[in-house]
Point group: C2
Chain length 663, copies 2
């Protein structure tokens, strides 16, 4: 290597010579290659300094070093250089996609990362909580409000409201901090199969004029010969795919990017006769890679605009090797790329069918994607050696607390579990917040995988909002997702919020789970229940009526006790009324809750009085009491130090009772 | 790149010039480096053709390109070149380790692999079944019998029988096929964090004289200043670690390797005065990296012998960059390596404490290792694009059958599940086969994660051998392992064989699981039970006595029916005698099995007659009969096409009954 102080001229001269000698064997898009004699001990290498492909002369094959006798060497940015990545993310499902993408990125990365996330309120809420609890070293996250950027793109015709988010890629040079000179922009449906630093390193190959690095489209969509009557937007050849973009923000700003793209969009796209635009809709939505189906009103995507600009100014683009955006759509030509390449870098699920797309090698790509869907994200909390990056203050505190624990402590396992900060993914599935109603109640509970089959029954018994914390591994979270999708009962409910708390440690963090579910309840009252408890069919209505009747809302500190019963039978038909319930009790098919093992836990409920009662009555707290209660949402949280079995609820009821005496 | 036909001289000349200009800045062990200007668009590269470190001149730092201003480029062998890897593997626990190692290797590999496994009978049985059912494309596995190699190394003093296996690395040049010229030899306690092809590519850097590539030891053990009275074996400096070895087998054979190592071992090690050897024992067993504890008889490891040879013939070794064998022992100096390196390639758990070793960054390394422990091995069944490698015939048949399925078929899910070939890891945990006894019975059952808590009770109720199939994900298999380790009852039993069948698909492959468990039973009889069924305490003895009494062994085709009962109560005290059982039946606490839902399934057992019976009696098969039976081990298998719920056992009993009529 060249020592630090050495004049650069010497190394540069050597490389120049290599270039002269062998440069003429190379074609555009090739970065750096090596040829090796089969079996022989030596190696022959062909090398190339950054080279500008001639304006407009887009090579037919963007494979880079994808000939079989030629493998790419790996240039890398300096160790510890901070890499910037921008993504636009809106809604629940896209948030899940982003997390999988980030997992794949973190798995291979060796550099500190700064993620710039343009989000709607839903995605921000989810991702802020996630990254805060994930505590990955050397990852910084900044959020940008998509709502604020909307006016800049909302004038562009778009079929779906969601199409607006796609257009926000265009305004990143203005939206990201002015000091930020370079950024990698990613669609949320890509998966990394290599170190993102290798992609970042391609910035070095930009000529002075180039501002955008893109991979060519791997379908003939923009060539216009895919379907009858199909006339695509203007583009250079197959056009470029915008799933993976290298942006020189500094140069874009200098070049007056905002004006440039707005002018091009107006002149090239919006002025076309309306009839010729009707066909564009689906093709554009499919990012140039999918099937054109149906007709609709006009819609223009960011990809269309990028391509129209590039057609006007071909010198702006640096074509990237195809392996950095292997596009998996139905009509993909990607096989030309990956079957020759030694290595795949990024795969792009750019069909609307996503993982259900059909192509010859989809199993292979699906496996790559599933790898990160199921990957235990806790394992990515690993530091970067030799890159000094102060951990977040919480992580540092935690490390110190953990270091203080004694290995001899018989409660070591408990103390470790108490200190564990679990990764939390709130509203894992699409969720509609309930409309504001003054006496509404959310059922709050927590569960793990083995209680999944309770969910359908619970939904049948409780027609109101629910906030449920699920203690799962990453792989189990995917199983849970499929479980909900396969259930008509569960899919029909938008008012059930599922919050995934990722498993870590050997003890069940019951109160941490309860607190997550409680914190996410959006109604003024919560019913602090258990997953094994099936509410009577009328309970939701009855509770709301009782809250109103008892005027709980008017500053009165009180908890409503819901009497609980249990059966020791596997098969049991649920009572429809208090009369039926009493009959079952008398027949010995039902018992008052835990009356065999833990009578003191429920004694103060006074079941004898309850039998006769026609209206709510007041009960007196006593030691060990742990009833199921309805309380205002802002009531005290559970003590998270209780992990595993025992006392977790008793302690909470003690505190609730103490609070009522304070009032 | 250079085109195929081009004279090589031109490229070589260019590289030579680069070498002359900048070669003098390089130091031994550096392979190829690159320097990049921070933030600038260009790059400066220093390059080096394969270079022989001078004899005996071992560089102080084997870090290769591990300075912060210098990152390694990645040379690779030709695409699709077959890479050879050898490992020595004996016993149950090491087999698990090998699989994790192989998973990490397969995750990053892009080349076809040929694994050469020297195994004992136990490991061969496990790994043959595993690779056969894994069906990974472009992976070939050859087995070599460790028993046959033993005589070649058994004369070397060794403390443990297991130490002999470690010594077998020395005889690989003779044991592997004569046509095999190069091989990578791995300890089973390493984990890959990169593509093994990069390691293979280092063969290109061997000089004509070099035959072994090794990484230096990352502890001061061989320097002899770690403990008082500690005098290590002869070695060059810190010596070399033999966890990762590149072997030029062809040259070793030519050079008379067998004589060389035997002579060195005899002259350098075995002739040392016995007193000075006593201290070696632990250090040697710990691979030069662990703590010396205790004293014992003399033991010499392969590593000791390799180091003694290298001390005599330093020209034989090519020192490899430290990142190819990051050694994680208590006194490791590895931080010097990995904190500077841009990239870690292979980690080596060379402390006897393995993952429980303490060092500053062990969490980081543990996470890397856990990644592959928990990794879904099914996802590694991915083909290598552009490398034509015919899949195993079974895999091809399977592909064809799957392709024939119609998407419209309402039974699609069932048919897919029926065709699924599950990866099978037999005897996942250490297991002692039962001594041969003519009337012995193995309890056979299958379960998934949610029934784990049945195992302890089952062990208490059944003191005999068991063969259990567990349907688990890779991550669950690790949880299961911890579950057994944490249970005194389960850990104490060596006669329970656990066979992991890896999950794939949505339906429970009940009969495939039963067949796996049945095939692995080693006694002449099997009790075909269910995991939810608790045998009466005396059943094991009673069955063996009955088998003897009824002379089942003498060619008589008969099945013994074990009457079953059920309780609908969560809490239940198990009857100790038939009298107690009858009392519970009369009290309504027990029922005859499934008498509520499926009386015909057990009706032919004739429970009324059973009440009165004092001795076994004959029952008559009737439709839908599905009793629990004891049969000879070689009885018909279950029909694997039954997946999910229903008819799976009924069909088997039909076949058993039909077979008795044939006799």
């Amino acid at each position: 290597m060249l020592p630090r102080g050495r004049p650069r001229a010497l190394g540069a001269a050597a490389l120049l010579l290599v270039l002269i000698l062998i440069g003429f064997f190379l074609f555009g898009g090739d970065l750096e290659c090596e040829r090796r004699e089969q079996g022989g001990p030596g190696s022959f290498r062909c090398s190339l300094t950054p080279r500008v492909p001639p304006d407009g002369d887009l090579p037919a094959d963007h494979g880079g070093c994808n000939r079989s006798d030629c493998v790419p060497l790996r240039p890398l940015p300096p160790k510890c250089e901070l890499l910037h990545v921008a993504m636009v993310c809106a809604g629940h499902n896209t948030s899940r996609d982003v997390i999988t993408l980030v997992k794949s990125m973190l798995f291979f990365r060796k550099n500190p990362l700064h993620l710039h996330l343009v989000t709607d309120a839903v995605a921000r809420n989810i991702l802020e909580t996630l990254f805060h609890t994930w505590m990955v070293p050397a990852v910084r996250v900044s959020f940008y409000d998509a709502e604020e950027l909307k006016p800049q793109v909302s004038w562009i015709p778009n079929k779906h409201y969601s199409g607006l988010y796609g257009l926000m890629k265009l305004v990143l040079p203005g939206a990201l901090p002015p000091a930020l000179a370079r950024v990698i922009v990613l669609d949320t449906d890509v998966t990394f199969a290599s170190d993102i630093a290798e992609l970042w390193a391609l910035f070095a190959y930009f000529s002075d004029e180039q501002v955008i690095g893109l991979v060519e489209n791997q379908s003939d969509w923009y060539l216009g010969n895919l379907w009858r009557n199909h006339r695509p937007w203007p583009a250079l050849g197959r056009g470029f795919n915008t799933g993976v973009i290298l942006l020189r923000l500094d140069r874009l700003r200098q070049a007056g990017w905002e004006q440039m793209w707005k002018l091009t969009a107006t002149q090239e796209l919006l002025t076309l006769p309306a009839t010729s635009l009707a066909d564009q809709v689906w093709g554009s939505l499919l990012g140039g890679g999918g099937q054109a189906q149906g007709q609709g009103e006009m819609a223009v995507s960011a990809q269309d605009i990028f391509n129209a600009i590039i057609k006007r100014h071909p010198g702006l683009v640096l074509p990237l090797p195809c392996i950095w955006n292997v596009q998996l759509s139905d009509h993909t030509l990607a096989e030309r790329c990956y079957s020759e390449a030694a290595d795949l870098k990024v795969i792009h699920w750019n069909s609307p069918k996503k993982l259900r797309v059909k192509n010859k090698h989809v199993e292979f790509f699906r496996n790559l994607h599933l790898t990160f869907l199921e990957y235990n994200g806790n394992l990515l909390r690993r530091e970067l050696f030799g890159c000094p990056s102060p951990p977040p203050p919480e992580a540092e505190q935690l490390q110190r607390a953990l270091a203080h624990l004694s290995e001899e402590d018989t409660c070591l396992e408990f103390r470790q579990q108490q200190l564990t900060v679990h990764r939390v993914h709130i509203t894992f599935l699409p969720h509609e917040p309930p409309p504001p109603r003054p006496h509404d109640v959310t059922l709050v509970a927590q569960l793990s995988m083995d209680r999944l089959q309770m969910l359908e029954a619970l939904c049948r018994h409780w027609p109101g909002p629910m906030s449920l914390a699920l203690y799962l591994t990453d792989a189990e979270a995917q199983q849970f997702l499929h479980f909900v999708e396969a259930s008509a009962v569960l899919s029909a409910r938008q008012d059930v919020a599922y919050h995934v708390v990722y498993r870590e440690g050997s003890l069940y963090p019951i109160n941490q789970l309860r607190n997550v579910a409680m914190a996410q309840a959006l109604t003024p009252y919560v019913f602090l229940s258990d997953i094994d408890l099936l509410p009577s069919y009328s309970l939701y209505d009855y509770l709301r009526a009782s809250i109103e009747q008892l005027e709980l809302g008017s500053g009165r500190k009180a908890a409503l006790v819901v009497p609980a019963f249990e059966t020791l039978h596997y098969h049991f038909s649920f009572p429809n009324s208090k009369a039926e319930l009493l009959a079952l009790l008398d027949a010995g098919s039902l018992y008052t809750f835990r009356s065999h093992e833990w009578p003191q836990g429920y004694a103060p409920t006074d079941y004898a009085r309850w039998r006769e009662a026609q209206a709510p009555y007041r009960v007196q707290w006593a030691a060990d009491y742990e009833p199921y209660v309805v309380v205002p949402r802002d009531c005290p949280r559970y003590d998270p130090r209780f992990v595993g079995f025992g006392w977790n609820k008793v302690a909470h009821i003690v505190e609730l009772d103490a609070q009522t005496h304070l009032s």
